[in-house]
């Protein structure tokens, strides 16, 4: 493996919405390399459908403060309230800015950006659903990704496509992130050649997205394997709130492909085997537009109690048949095409079989509102390290993210991270970065490639996904989580015996899938350990054996850390409280 060296002021790892927005922010301010294991336009931001909320009040009265309240309540009060206020206040400018950059939002008859309803977004602190989601049909994420990429092309941003980042290096060759050992560079594996590249840089912003591929039924792309948080976890960065993983209520049955909440925002209804609109029982005020955690639990409760549909009784129906055909064509064209393609049914006349699908990690790399990575509850920094988007945990989503707030998160905190990073590199010195900094990544790759073990990457990944979906998803108990933790530990023990059968250098996806599995296993362990310890139910983390929220003991964020001897230990930090006091979460 040849080693190539590059020198930049800053690196951005990942080229979805957060990475591209950060790249636009630093363009012209510092020399920046954007590294992505895909091509930028392949990023999973492009799969986001329904919208991006901002209190523009274009179609009815709204305020960013109501948006902040909904975000805090939706997150079951585990949200850091200053962060949520920051995001919701800046949402208005963020949407306007995207429009100025060319984003083709749907429009009102007056020519303003149109807005629609979305789960958990309400008028005046929960009175009724409000039209807050700005959208471009049901491909809002696609349009955000395209628009940001177009603007990067206009600014001649330097991309390194199909470069998979495997490691970071710190000043003085330190093994772990710390306040006195600033970032010195990142190490990337080039898919086209199999070579290693050492990027000298004073700062790096991680924007690698989620890690939903640890679950079997998931809306996530095959490539969402948590490489960014995974590699930082190995370098001493704790993972915050890993037990909070969102299951989106409406994934296509068995496939997990997302059918946007916009389907319900436009009037779609969930029905059980009896045809009943069961959400009326669970959320009498907002019904089908309750937050995702509640709707997913309601669906699985219906199934548990025997009211699931079909012979297997393990799904429910999303019903769009009462909506005008022209509304479906204009507002929900893509998702209805998915239904036609993958299920072979016509959503204008047939009800759609759906089940909850693993969708979004609320937890991840701990950061402050400037997207600077923080290592503990005291706010100890890791100079030069930044993170934004799904891989980060600010925490604006708390225990459960509201629909549309992910697109908002990536744009707001991508910009903030880029801005903070540009300021930092303007005054920071570049630590020495010897070639030896690439050695751990080289060893990792060569051990996998030369391995002669019996284990198959795909089989191990199948076992991980089946176990996580079975034991660590919507409903959890001490028993299931203990089993999940032990299974993941066993898979981690077997992992060194995986054999990469492709011994070639070019486009060795056998090798990169093995590397990705390693990150997934590490993060799955952090998830299981964190979930087992949290003996309460809050947001997306529901414990059958501890069904109530426990504010006296658990108004705190989990921090899972890998110790030098390989164990995962937990630490906690308090939730940053604010104007909204915890109350019972009714909708």
């Amino acid at each position: 493996m040849e080693l190539h060296r590059h020198s930049y002021d800053a690196g951005i790892v990942g080229a979805g919405g957060a990475g591209l927005r950060a790249a636009i922010e630093v363009a012209g301010k510092c020399r920046t390399a954007v590294l992505t294991k895909l091509y930028p336009t392949r990023s999973h931001t492009g799969a986001a459908q329904g919208g991006m909320c901002a209190a523009l009040a274009n179609v009815e009265e709204d305020s960013w403060e109501w948006h902040a309240f909904d975000t805090v309540k939706g997150g079951d009060y585990l949200v850091d309230q200053t962060a949520a206020q920051t995001m919701c206040r800046e949402a208005v400018d963020a949407v306007i800015e995207l429009e100025h950059l060319g984003l083709p939002f749907n429009r009102t008859p007056e020519g303003r950006i149109d807005q629609r309803r979305f789960g958990g977004h309400t008028r005046n602190h929960g009175e009724a659903p409000v039209r807050r989601a700005c959208f471009a049909a049901d491909r809002t994420g696609h349009m955000i990704l395209q628009t940001l990429y177009q603007q990067c092309v206009a600014r001649d941003v330097q991309f390194f496509s199909e470069f998979q980042v495997l490691d970071v290096a710190f000043a003085g060759g330190a093994a772990a992130a710390g306040p006195d050992t600033p970032l010195a560079g990142v190490v990337a594996y080039e898919l086209a050649t199999g070579d290693l590249h050492l990027f000298e840089c004073k700062a790096a912003l991680f924007a690698t997205g989620g890690f939903g591929k640890m679950f079997k039924v998931s809306s996530n792309a095959h490539t969402l394997t948590g490489d960014g948080p995974g590699l930082l976890f190995r370098r001493g960065v704790p993972m915050e709130d890993m037990e909070f993983f969102q299951f989106h209520p409406t994934g296509i049955y068995k496939l997990g492909i997302l059918l946007s909440e916009a389907a319900r925002g436009e009037g779609g209804i969930l029905r059980n085997a009896e045809g009943e609109r069961f959400m009326e029982r669970y959320a009498p005020t907002v019904k089908d537009l309750a937050p995702r955690d509640m709707v997913s639990r309601a669906i699985l409760t219906e199934i548990r109690e025997g009211r699931g549909c079909g012979q297997t009784r393990d799904f429910v129906h999303l019903d769009l048949t009462h909506l005008p055909a022209e509304q479906i064509d204009a507002k929900l064209p893509d998702i209805t095409d998915f239904v036609r393609t993958y299920l072979g049914i016509e959503p204008k006349t047939d009800r759609i079989p759906i089940q909850p699908t693993a969708h979004y990690a609320m937890g991840g790399i701990p950061t402050n509102v400037s997207a600077e990575v923080v290592l503990d509850g005291a706010g100890t920094g890791a100079p030069g390290l930044y993170a934004a988007g799904e891989c980060a945990c600010v925490s604006v989503h708390g225990a459960n993210r509201l629909g549309t707030n992910s697109l908002l998160d990536i744009v707001v905190f991508g910009r903030r991270g880029g801005s903070a990073m540009a300021d930092f590199v303007a005054s920071a010195d570049q630590p020495a970065l010897p070639d030896e900094a690439a050695e751990p990544a080289r060893a990792l790759v060569e051990e996998l490639r030369s391995g002669k073990g019996e284990e198959n990457v795909a089989d191990l990944r199948d076992e991980l996904q089946a176990e996580m979906t079975d034991k660590a998803s919507v409903f959890r108990t001490e028993e299931t989580l203990t089993a999940a933790r032990d299974t993941v530990a066993d898979l981690r023990r077997r992992y060194p015996s995986v054999s990469v059968r492709d011994k070639g250098r070019r486009y060795n996806y056998d090798l990169t899938e093995a590397l990705e599995l390693g990150f997934l296993l590490d993060l799955a362990e952090a998830l299981a350990v964190s979930a087992l310890a949290r003996t309460e139910s809050r947001g997306a983390h529901f414990r059958d054996d501890h069904p109530l929220r426990d504010d006296a003991n658990w108004m705190r964020h989990s921090l899972a850390r890998r110790t030098a001897d390989g164990a995962v230990v937990l630490d906690y930090k308090p939730v940053e409280e604010g104007p909204y006091l915890p109350m019972e979460r009714k909708y």
Binding site: Y39, T41, A136, A137, V153, A221, R501, Y507, D510
Partner: protein
């Protein structure tokens, strides 16, 4: 119910193969599976060296365009039940093969960049959105769907022998801005397109329209750009 499917895949690894060759694999898949699932079955359980790109697996990221039974398709959008039990898979035509089904996308993205695919408008928009009526927004809706998968460009017989032809995908992305009421960059873009290497290279073969996995009316978008040039607007 699992059924046996025969996959014939055109393989080429420049590290060891002097020329491309065909290999055949038998896989068990469901009729409702995607062709992508069958390719995964090969890579995961039969031959780990099979290289192909993929990510989202439901037709929105544009990674897995390839030639399947002679037609440009996304492997994640085509189901086994629609393609039969004997499937041939080849890399996209007209782009250099880097390994197996992985082709060099750089020339394709260079064509895209040549048409200046971003909104050009020097006016200060103030602190609110620019206004655009629903009718003005609808005017360019079709071409906003492009996912840059290259299925159209690599289906074009004009592009195959002629690398300088800008290709349908770049024209689609120019169209997206030429017909956006907010855009003022039309003159620059039309200058790039008013050539034999631009829209005048198009011979209206309609392959691009057939190939587009997003259902964009590519040929008619190209025609609209031609008409805009003839009108001089």
């Amino acid at each position: 119910m699992a059924i046996p499917v025969e996959l014939r895949i055109k393989r080429y690894d420049p590290e060891r193969d002097p020329v491309p060759h065909w290999e055949t694999y038998e896989v068990e898949v469901e009729e409702s599976d995607r062709v992508l699932d069958a390719l995964h079955e090969v890579r995961w359980h039969q031959d780990g060296s099979l290289a192909f790109r993929r990510s989202c697996a439901h037709g929105v990221c544009g990674s897995d365009a390839m030639v399947i039974n002679g037609e440009n398709r996304l492997a994640c959008v085509l189901l086994i039940r629609d393609v039969g039990r004997s499937i041939t898979v080849e890399p996209l035509r007209g782009l250099r093969v880097l390994k197996d089904l992985v082709v060099d996308m750089e020339p394709f993205f260079e064509q895209y960049k040549a048409v200046k695919p971003w909104l050009v408008n020097a006016d200060d928009p103030g602190d609110r959105e620019r206004l655009q009526s629903p009718e003005e927004r609808a005017r360019y809706d079709d071409t906003t769907k492009c996912i840059l998968c290259a299925a159209c460009t690599t289906s074009c017989p004009v592009f195959w022998p002629n690398e300088s032809y800008v290709g349908p995908a770049a024209i689609v992305n120019a169209h997206r801005f030429l017909f956006d009421s907010r855009d003022e960059g039309g003159a620059d873009r039309l200058e790039v397109l008013d050539r034999r290497s631009g829209v005048w290279g198009c011979r209206t073969a309609f392959n691009c329209t057939d190939a587009c996995p997003r259902g964009i009316k590519v040929t008619s978008a190209i025609e609209e750009v031609k008409r805009a040039l003839l009108r001089g607007d």
